[in-house]
Amino acid sequence: MSFFGFNDRGHRQDAPGFSQPRDAFAGIPSRGLADEAEVLDFEETYDGLGDQLEESGDAFNDDTFGEERLTQQSIGKDFDFSGQTGGVSRAIEEERMRFAAQKAPARLAPKPASPPRKATKPAKTGYEGFIPQLQADANLWGIGPKRAPERAGPSGYQAAAFSSHATPSPAQPSAAAPPPARKILSVEEVEAFMRAESQQSAPPPVPVHQTPSYPQHMPEQHHFMPHQPPQQPPQQPPQQTPQQPPQQPPQQHPGFAFPSLQQHGHRQPQIHAQPTPPPQPTVFSHPPQILQRPHPPPGSQQPPAAARQPELPSQGFPPQPQHPQILQRPRPSSQVEQSAQRHTPAPQPRQILQNPNRLSGHGQSGPPVPQPYQRMPEGPRIPTGPAHQRGPSYQGPIITNPQQILQLSDEDRLAFMEEDSKRAKRNHKIYLLSKDNGLMTPQDKNFITRIQLQQLVTATGTVESNDMESVLNEDFYYQVYSQIRGAPRHDPHQPANQFAQTYLFQTGGRFAGRRNARGVDNHMQRMEQQVQRAVEAARAKPKNKQLVIEGSLGKISFSNAKTPKPLLNIRRNDSNSHPHHPVRRPSRVHDAAAERRVVLRNIETLYNSVMEMEDHERQMPPPLTDTSDSATVQQHLEWREKMQILNQRIWADLKVLEPFIQNSPTLHPFVAILSHPKGKKVMPRVFRHIDEQQRVTTLTMIVAHLDSLDVIAYALHDASAPAPLAVREEIELFAQAVMPCLFRSVNEAPLNIIAGVLGLVTERTTVSAIVCTKIGVSILTMLVSRAELLKPTPSADSAAHAEWEQWTETFNRLFDAAEPALPFVFPGTVLNADDVHVWQFLAAMGAASNPEQQQRLVMGVKNRVMETVRMGRTLPADMAAVRLGHVNLFMHAIGLDVDLLVG
């Protein structure tokens, strides 16, 4: 059965392949159906190849199949296993069990599956080389040497094989029936069916019966194969060669053999005449090939061998030995003998026989495969390798899927097939794509790269003004940041170039690594030059963002990543409206939010001015020397002029000189600026760009408005509730950002200014409140201590002494004002360690005080001193030392020491 089915299917599916490219995957989906339910109608499936059969070639078929004694009668008995094999039933049973242990259920299923597989594999290989697969099939069917010549190449083989195959089938339509049946029918059913048919026509039934029997034998094969593969060929060939030829056909090619036998039954006598080399070889060669097919490797080799040496069919060649083996099995004409053979040498022959089964059943793979390997290790593999890749031979797949395939469950097999098809698809894709391989030469690629680089450079490069300034504008943060933090960039002014360069070098490096250096260098040089030129061109290019091509109706707008094409283009009326809003509004209605916005805007304006100043500073022309030419001098003059203008702008933006409106609900603009963190932060930068006079003025302004400074107004602390976090942060920021500026100014100020500033404090502010804030205390400390440093020596002139007198007067006023607050100057409780600034202030005051004032000072802070000293005893030594050290700042200033108190 399996043979029948196999043949038919293979024939049907493969047939189109001869003339047309076949869809390699067509067979896959249908496979499942075919396995289960498809019933093949021979008439439908038969493609008429049989008509092409060369009838003359059959002349010697009888040589192979046609021994008289082996004819229908003997064959007819073969298939009746229940009757014939009764003697060996026990052995068969054993085999069956063994096989079942491995994967009995797969046995029957695989057979039907095999045909589809065939199809698939050809499909796989078909892409690469469709024909080879066919060849493999041909091997299966034992292509006659004669036919090979008819059609060039492997396809000819297959065709021949099919034709031979086909020939019988037409002759015996009945034979066709079994194949479809096999798929559906159980073994028993098939047997019954065959037997029934056998009565009508003996030959067809035989194959059917045998088919079932094969699986049973297969187990034996597995076992034996490992042991004796090498030995088998030599042993059996000699013995059975003569006998087997006739018998072979029935077993392995049930379909073939029988039809041929029937057809040529009258020719049987001819069969005996083996001497005629050409015809006989064909016959012989077929059977061996078929038999060998299970052993894919040998089979592949054999067919050629047969073709070459038709005359030495069964004797000399390894394939032939197999051939005889196969024959043996039918030989069992005496069942006893069969059983005996099986137990001893027989197993091997069975293997061979079974191999065909497997082939037919499972398609390609089979336990037999291993044997072929062992026997002809190189031979088989060679074909397989190509088979897989080129698809020259059917066997490739076989080898790929060794025995396992046979043992696989249906699902596994399905999966395997799918995988195979996938692989085939992929290969196909690769193949399709590979058509375009090598279309581009390295030069082409380089050319493309250059174009891309050029675009890159023009895009990232410089669409607008290309001076360093714009670069800085574009990439300000990075440039400055890397300058500040020491990033690798050394030349912040030419980033675009550097980018291009870096990129080029990297690319060059890459290429150089891969290819020979010379050509690459050339290309790289040209590329670099091109990029350079592109950059130059981009720089030279006018900034217009639109291109009007002559004769065109519209404009083409350029856009790139940096300056996308504007979809909305709104023209603003030059900031006429803007400045007015803020100014007007506050004057009309006091609006806190508006007020705040005004202040913030003022701050931003200030920032912009400052930044402009900083930019301008960076552009300072080379320093003037005696040899400087007029141009440089001119530059300098202009630069300074600009500097002056910017300075005035900053000064104006700082709004220090804005008129101060007494009792105004709004803060003075400058104070308002200082009340924002941003405003505080900008002060150091502003102070760098304003002159001494302006700084002092600013200092004066700050001091005069100490009361209204947020860091003082909101920082009035009482012991129970420390200032809120936000205020503390403001204070911290002020101390860090603004105080140093003030400190620097104060340290450069002469005594009279200090005295004047201090006078402002006493006149314009509430000293008792100020001394209760950290910033206020710090400023007072700053002023007082500075004055102390400026204390004129006795030898100083009278003017200095006069100033000092004035200062002392001012200080006295301050002291008087501050004295009431002395008990409250300390923030928080004693436990709060953040009172250094207070001790510093006290120390400064103490140092500047006369003894009487010192006395009053001590009285004012005595409690705190004692508390601190007392607490110092409870603290760990180091902390106590720190606290007492703070106290000592003050104590030393008045000529005392904490130790006195402690003691």
């Binding site: 990232t460 504008n473 574009e474 990439d475 300000f476 943060y477 990075y478 440039q479 400055v480 940041y481 890397s482 500040i484 933090r485 990033a487 990543a561 940096k562 504007p566 283009n569 709104i570 023209r571 603003r572 030059d574 931003e604 920032y607 912009n608 930044m611 941003k678 932060k681």
Partner: protein
Amino acid sequence: MLFFSFFKTLVGQEVTVELKNDISIRGTLKSVDQFLNIKLENISVVEEIKYPHLSAVKSVFIRGSTVRFVHLPATQVDTALLQDATRREAAQAGGKAKLG
């Protein structure tokens, strides 16, 4: 270009990129381009359990448009400078708008 410029300074720093699909990827910023596409190396997904398919990924290239947030190391940001840079950008934009 401000953000580009800004992110360039973060190259080599460890950042956490939160994508619009809620995946957060932490890794070393390898490079960034003008589209703010981000290349990260040595990445780890913050919620590894939730996105096991990324656990084997070592480096990623993130299209800028898919980024929701980038969590930065605060110490690596110069806020004052950033403010200035922003002002410049704004001034430039303002200037452009006026020109346009």
